[in-house]
């Protein structure tokens, strides 16, 4: 077998071999399947989404049902634990497993909605700054700097406290606070796309700026945008948990993982599992989202940039 000869399609068909070159999508799919981080991240996200969607079916108990008789029951692996309450109960006698399952709804809901608001604001700003440059860019860059200078958690806690804590308020406050990374990334990518020939071609063909942005620029931003979206969902979930932990986020008795850690804090000495369990849930979800985001970046990156 002679390996130094270049095999072309014609030569291959002469020899009776069918050569099929993979399409870009097939190549991407192949590298997705090979990317461990991507696979782990995607699996975690799918499991948590299923958990949230099927919460009423999966949860063995009502997550809100309180009962003095069942207070502080141990988990199934501890002494006197039972399968009735696999993860035990909290100080109000609520089933911990059910609260963890329902807590995924809060995390995902807030994570995604905050991300949508932040993405809308940040992408618009980044797109305009990157495309028009000049004064527009100066203004946007200035706004980004101002935003970064504000201590996000502190401002969020203060505003939520003053407006009254509720899921809706948390979503809006966080959404209006964490658009910075979208603006930074989209601005930079737009600046890279703008001098491309296909943008110049669209301009030469007389397309309107609006059309160029929608038909030429945005589709080429999608890869980066999806990566940032994934990472920002993680950031929003983390911030929601922090806010709820500080008592200025989702209000009791809603089952939020951050709030559950906060409520368990006073039993830290004797019942540390009440802290570790929601923490692990949070950690696994955040880890999955981060791995997924990094994975998408690696998989969609052009060849040789892994």
């Amino acid at each position: 077998m002679n390996t130094i000869e270049t095999i072309t399609n014609e030569k291959a068909s002469e020899l009776g071999i069918e050569v099929v070159f993979p399409t870009p999508n097939q190549i991407m799919l192949r590298s997705m399947v090979r990317h461990k981080g991507f696979l782990i991240g995607a699996t975690v996200l799918i499991i948590v989404v299923l958990m949230a969607a099927l919460a009423p079916v999966l949860a063995p108990h009502d997550p809100y049902e309180q009962s003095l008789a069942t207070r502080m029951l141990p988990t199934v692996w501890q002494e006197n634990g039972s399968w009735e309450y696999p993860l035990g109960t909290d100080n109000m006698g609520r089933d911990y497993l059910s609260r963890i399952i329902y807590g995924s709804r809060v995390s995902l809901l807030i994570g995604f909605l905050v991300m949508i608001i932040a993405a809308t604001i940040g992408t618009t700003m980044g797109l305009l700054a990157g495309y028009f440059g000049g004064k527009v860019d100066m203004v946007v860059s200035f706004l980004i700097t101002v935003r970064l200078a504000l201590p996000a958690v502190l401002v969020a806690v203060a505003v939520v406290a003053l407006m009254g804590g509720s899921t809706k308020v948390v979503i809006f406050v966080l959404g209006f606070l964490i658009w910075d990374r979208f603006a930074v990334v989209i601005r930079a990518s737009t600046q890279q796309i703008r001098p491309m020939e296909y943008v110049a071609a669209a301009k030469a063909a007389g397309c309107s700026t609006r059309r160029i942005l929608i038909a030429e620029v945005i589709p080429n931003l999608m890869n980066n945008l999806i990566v940032v979206m994934t990472l920002e969902v993680a950031r929003a979930i983390l911030l929601e948990a922090a806010l709820s932990f500080l008592g200025m986020g989702v209000q009791p008795p809603t089952p939020s993982w951050g709030l559950m850690i906060s409520e368990a804090k006073e039993f830290m000495l004797f019942e540390p599992h009440l802290i570790t369990i929601p923490g692990i849930a949070l950690f696994v979800l955040l880890l999955g989202m981060n791995l997924l985001g990094d994975g998408i970046r690696d998989v969609t990156a052009p060849e040789g940039r892994s």
């Binding site: 077998m1 002679n2 390996t3 130094i4 000869e5 270049t6």
Partner: protein, 325 residues
């Protein structure tokens, strides 16, 4: 003439995701004092890796082995990194292709010139500074003393390449390896730098290995030439012989690509070599040029072709009768 560098049977392998690339295969050559040897070939033919292997500066994915690698009578094979560091920049210096990025942006020209000297000579820093000024003047930089305090980004590409040459000369090397030293420069600057290299080489009686793909440069500078194709030397000889009487079909193809005033009519198409260079991965045998060669015959693919000596210092890697008759 005293031999400065003698290489025999050099192989360089690069580990790539697709397999092991046999970038350099069984390359042998030598350089004498005051002599210029030119390694010529297309990009990717292994000429730069040959030089990096001699300096032991191959990238992490690369390995080399050789039967003989002797520099100034010293065996370089099996020399540890610390031993090799004593040779590098001292008696053997290298000048790179990219003057714009080959200098550290964080340190002054003076600092970077002097550190090579201070590394190899136990001298006070004042002496290193004097040497740097002397050599900057030698490479034609005016106001040398004040240049020492400048940073690379303040100099033009041509000036930076002059600084790189001065840096190579700091310890008075016996051999300079110049890897495409003028490729990144403007044409007028190219001529100046080449003239400078040539003059310095004669003045200090150094051996020079000039790596280039530019046959015009070879014609002006080289005493001897080794033409490389796909990791192998396909033809060697004195520069005049190679230009006047190219033997190997590849060398001939290269010569046909040069426009010669008076010989080429206006509007006449220049020669080109059809086909693409194969990637030397896997089990290689036969002539590597055969898929592009007009003299191809079945035995070209069957056996490995050795360099056939045609005379003293002249050899060609081709078995075609048309070539050798």
């Amino acid at each position: 003439m005293k031999k400065v560098l003698e290489i025999e049977g050099l192989f360089v392998d690069l580990d790539l995701p697709a397999g092991t690339l046999q970038a350099v295969q069984n390359v042998s050559f030598s350089v004498d004092q005051g002599e210029t040897l030119s390694l010529v070939g297309e990009s990717g033919c292994g000429k730069s890796l040959t030089a990096l292997a001699v300096m032991n500066l191959l990238p992490q994915s690369g390995r080399f082995r050789a039967e003989k690698m002797e520099f100034m009578g010293q065996n370089l094979l099996g020399l540890k990194e610390s031993g090799m560091a004593k040779v590098r920049g001292n008696r053997m210096a290298m000048i790179f292709q990219e003057p714009m990025t080959s200098l550290n942006p964080c340190y002054t020209i003076g600092n970077q010139l002097e550190e090579a000297f201070l590394q190899h000579r136990d001298v006070p820093s004042r002496e290193a500074r004097e040497r740097a000024v002397y050599l900057l003047e030698k490479v034609g930089i005016t106001a040398a003393a004040s240049r020492l305090n400048q940073y690379p980004h303040q100099l033009s590409g041509g000036l930076r390449q002059r600084v790189m040459i001065a840096m190579g000369l700091m310890c008075g090397p016996a051999l300079i390896i110049a890897d495409e030293p003028t490729t990144a420069l403007d044409v007028t600057i190219q001529a100046q730098i080449l003239a400078l290299l040539h003059a310095l080489q004669k003045e200090f009686n150094m051996g020079l290995i000039l790596i280039t793909h530019d046959l015009g440069v070879v014609a002006r500078m080289a005493d001897r030439v080794a033409v490389m194709y796909c990791g192998q030397v396909v033809e060697t000889g004195l520069a005049a012989e190679i230009f006047n009487n190219p033997k190997h079909p590849y060398t001939r193809g290269l010569m046909d690509c040069i426009p010669v005033p008076g010989k080429v009519e206006p509007g006449q198409k220049l020669g080109s070599i059809p086909g693409i260079v194969p990637t030397p991965i896997g089990n290689l045998h036969g002539c590597l040029f055969r898929n592009r060669c007009q003299y191809f015959q079945p035995k070209c693919a069957a056996e490995n072709i050795a360099l056939i000596a045609l005379g003293p210092g002249r050899a060609v890697r081709c078995i075609s009768e048309q070539i050798n008759s």
